[in-house]
């Protein structure tokens, strides 16, 4: 049972894609006349993929709940933007989104690949055909057996957030565009054209750097703002599997700049392009195969595609490894003078090495459940593992980023380097001292802060110098490094000096936490466009007082308790209030509440209480219409061997939603009484409050509890720097992307022959700010 237009579109994309790949292969074998046909077939592939996506979107917008996918993720009450986002709420839809971007990017790839078009397009198509094949097998167009449901299950309430609407499209754009450098690298190995691919693939690697980076940050911001556990990064497998490809992509971007400038290190980039792509496939495998089900906050359901994913992963890793090994000796090496140790070339190599090592270690931690399963007991690493390992790597990276602006490709003397960095050293020292004065006293923090300030200032000077020369467009890398420095400072301070406390706030009683006073005032009831929230008055020494409204509400569809923190932003400090538990309180009660189940006996001081029967009176329901009458038959067996019957009544009014449950005297006791508090006729269970049945009256005394709210209150200093630094980093990436995209376009327009020639020339397009050819005495 399928929606046929969708199935036809998805299968035709598989066949058109296969046909295009085969035709391109024939073109490569010398049948040049088939090129036009290959392009037509590619266009057919693209149109089919886009049509599949359009059909799925139409089904979602039309609320076709007879379609399994629509029924699983959508519902009538979703507003338009969440309705659109249900497209990528499930696995099938997100795979389709990935292919959607891929098919569109392909139109640009064939235009830029030029003489490499045939081999590049063969590889490029094959990176998507495996996923399309999965979609043919695990179709999003499956129908449910009739009758069609009137409403769907709905979108997970956690995903009903504006950030989660745009996060997946941005992320899958990054995934798809990474296929481009991979295809160019494989084609380079295949056709032995070692240099031309860099210029053309660089903008796509930068696009992945930008989009994947943005998607990761959006996910972190969502976690911070919505989930209420106080942080933006939890080292969860889902987060790690997008961070690792991003780190490899960042290494690749640096490697490509290095190869462009130096005409060396060809092997490095071929390896990196393959590794970055493999990391995306491996992450997809980890998060979609169910292997991590017991280890993650997220749960992954095995859709029966694990075998496919392993197959795709194995094919591409195997293909890359075999090709690289086969061509290893024929990859040309440039033999000329070695650069000094204190040179931009060496710093780039070191930076790339640290990026790769860091990504490998994170991958190792994420894969721990799989790796340890091989040796016996499946185990998981604690999140401290990531803190321990990323700290030294972060320090090294930011130090290298700080040293790189004023060093030439070939080398620098130690004294020249010291001279050019003197000013920034002073600035960093002053800022670090200031941080120390403000209370940052952990040595580790101070060292990291110094490196971060140093990197930010060195690169800021480089940006200013470039801008002064009218070449701001070429300052993208430096600007990105300024952002890295700022971001690291924010990460370090907000992580090390966050102060978190849990406090229970009784209604209307001010509680003092450090210099902040919190008072829980009331529950603000929810309405159609507003969730139920808690009103808390917050008094701080700086601001007189303000009201915080952390949300706490029940999702009406699932009954799940949803919690959103309240965040008070300021430039230097975020005050983060995450509700934990609300207790409505209860007055003092005399009685003993027992839960009775049909057929079972509860014993109190030797007397047995048995719920013989629990009946909803159908006749009363039929006649009155708006009340339900429940009758509970009790058998009471005191220790003297006698047995007494009693019937308790419970009337529930459907209109007023109120219960009327009279208290009745229990036979067999002088002063005993019983009253029903709640019933669950389907489970045959009732909660009954008994009074006067215990020998010790104190056992029937339930003390009053006051209405109260437990909250986690966290002061997070300088977290604004994390977001701010990130924006600066991405602005730098964007500058670099624009410049390199322009270059790639020109390279295509000028013609590939000249491009190859240009790439052989020793002119470095990304020359140093201060060219220095003095060899270091260390070199």
């Amino acid at each position: 049972m399928y929606v046929w237009p969708g199935v036809i579109a998805i299968w035709s994309s598989l066949f058109a894609g296969l046909a295009a790949a085969v035709t391109y292969l024939l073109v490569d074998r010398g049948r040049k006349e088939l090129l036009a046909l290959a392009r037509t077939l590619y266009t057919a592939f693209m149109v089919s993929v886009v049509a599949s996506a359009a059909i799925l979107m139409t089904l979602l917008l039309q609320h076709r709940f007879d379609v399994s996918y629509v029924n699983s993720y959508s519902a009538l009450d979703l507003p338009l933007h969440y309705l659109i986002s249900t497209f990528w709420a499930g696995q099938e839809g997100s795979f389709l989104l990935w292919c959607f971007w891929g098919s569109i990017i392909g139109l640009f790839v064939w235009r830029t690949a030029k003489e490499q078009e045939a081999p590049v397009m063969v590889v490029y198509l094959s990176t998507f055909l495996g996923i399309i094949a999965i979609l043919c097998k695990q179709s999003p167009f499956k129908l449910l057996p009739p009758p069609a449901p009137v409403d769907g299950t709905g979108l997970n309430p956690l995903l009903q957030d504006p950030w989660m609407v745009i996060h997946p499209p941005v992320m899958f754009l990054g995934f798809a565009s990474l296929s481009v450098p991979f295809s160019f690298a494989i084609a380079a190995l295949w056709k032995k054209r070692w240099d031309g691919w860099i210029t053309r693939a660089l903008p796509w690697a930068l696009l992945t750097f930008l989009t994947l980076g943005t998607a990761i940050l959006m996910g972190g911001y969502w976690a911070y703002k919505t989930l209420g556990w106080g942080g933006y990064w939890g080292w969860d497998p889902v987060e790690n599997t997008s961070l690792v490809p991003w780190l490899f992509t960042t290494a690749l971007v640096h490697g490509m700049f290095l190869q462009r400038a130096r005409k060396r290190h060809r092997k490095v980039n071929l390896l990196l392009a393959c590794t970055a792509y493999a990391a995306i496939l491996y992450g997809t495998f980890l998060t979609r195969s169910g292997v991590l089900a017991d280890f993650s906050v997220h749960s992954f359901i095995d859709l029966g595609i694990t075998g496919w994913l392993v197959g795709i992963l194995g094919t591409f890793i195997g293909l890359s490894a075999v090709l690289i090994a086969w061509r290893w000796r024929s990859i040309p090496r440039t033999e000329d003078e070695e650069p000094a140790l204190l040179s931009r070339s060496v710093f780039f190599i070191l930076g790339i090495a640290v990026f790769c090592a860091l990504a490998t270690v994170i991958l190792l931690g994420t894969s721990a459940p799989i790796l340890t399963r091989l040796g016996g007991t499946p185990s998981q690493v604690q999140t401290t593992f990531y803190g321990k390992t990323t700290t030294p790597a972060g320090f090294l990276l930011v130090l290298l980023a700080g040293l790189v602006p004023f060093v030439g490709w070939k080398g620098e003397t130690g004294s020249a380097l010291f001279k050019s960095s003197r000013r920034s050293l002073v600035v960093a020292a002053v800022l670090t001292l200031a941080a120390f004065g403000l209370g940052a006293n952990k040595p580790e923090t101070l060292v990291l802060l110094f490196a971060a300030f140093f990197a930010a200032d060195m690169n800021l000077r480089a940006v200013i110098r470039k801008a002064g020369n009218g070449k701001l467009g070429g300052a993208g890398g430096y600007l990105a490094h300024v952002g890295v420095g700022i971001m690291l400072a924010g990460i370090v301070v907000s992580g090390a000096y966050a102060v978190s406390q849990r406090v229970t706030l009784p209604l209307n009683v001010p509680k003092k936490l450090g210099d902040t006073t919190l008072t829980f005032l009331r529950v603000v009831p929810g309405s159609a466009d507003r969730k139920q929230a808690m009103e808390i008055r917050v008094e701080t020494p700086k601001e007189k007082s303000f009201y915080a409204y952390p949300k706490m509400y029940e999702n009406t569809r699932t009954g799940q308790l949803m919690v959103n923190p309240s965040i008070r932003n300021s430039a230097t400090m975020d005050l983060y209030i995450a509700p934990q538990q609300y207790d409505p309180g209860q007055p003092q009660v005399v009685g003993r509440d027992v839960s009775l189940k049909k057929g079972t006996t509860t014993s109190i001081d030797g007397t047995g209480f048995t719920l013989k029967d629990l009946n909803a009176d159908r006749a009363a329901m039929m006649s009155g219409g708006n009340t339900i009458l429940v009758l509970a038959d009790l058998i009471i067996t005191p220790p003297d061997g006698t047995s007494h019957d009693a019937t308790i009544k419970y009337v529930f009014n459907l209109t007023t939603q109120e219960a009327d449950a009279p208290e009745i005297a229990l036979p067999g006791y002088p002063n005993a009484k019983a009253r029903i508090l709640a019933v669950s006729p389907n489970d045959g269970a009732a909660i009954v409050r008994l009074t006067g049945v215990s020998k010790n009256p104190n056992e029937e005394f339930q003390a009053a509890t006051v209405e109260s709210l437990s909250v986690d209150v966290t002061h997070k200093p300088l977290i604004a720097l994390v977001w701010g630094g990130f924006y600066v980093m991405m602005a730098g990436g964007l500058l670099a992307f624009l410049k390199r995209a322009g270059e790639a376009r020109r390279a295509v327009l000028e013609g590939s022959a000249r491009e190859e020639a240009r790439s052989e020339s020793p002119v470095a397009p990304t020359g140093p700010v201060m060219p220095a050819h003095t060899r270091s005495p260390l070199g």
Partner: protein
Amino acid sequence: MKKGYWFAAVLTLAFVGFGLTAFQKTLTPYLSFEEARKARGVVQVMGALDKESDRYDNKSEELSFDLLDPNGHRMQVVYRGVRPGNFKDAISIVAIGRFSQGRIEAEKLLVKCPSKYQGAEVEKAYASSPAPGKAS
């Protein structure tokens, strides 16, 4: 350039070596209740919640409950923190912490609930107070 590569190789190896040691140190094995009783360090155990055993002490803000494994073995877990919202509906609970004084002192709970949402969060993690999951 060879020098640069050598330097990079040494740096990478040193770092990965360091990573491996940290890996071994922070590894928390998934253990049966029997194994957990003998284990030192942080472990994780999984079991079904015994709904009768769940107690919450308002003063100390300490939650205590028993987990049952498929063989009916019992393990007491204490957790300093409020009761997770979906606690009572849990199919299974993963407790991560140390075994001490005959019970697991949990630092973190993963509560797995039945969910209609395929592939999305049906689990939620809860960290013991006062430090909620800190980003590093």
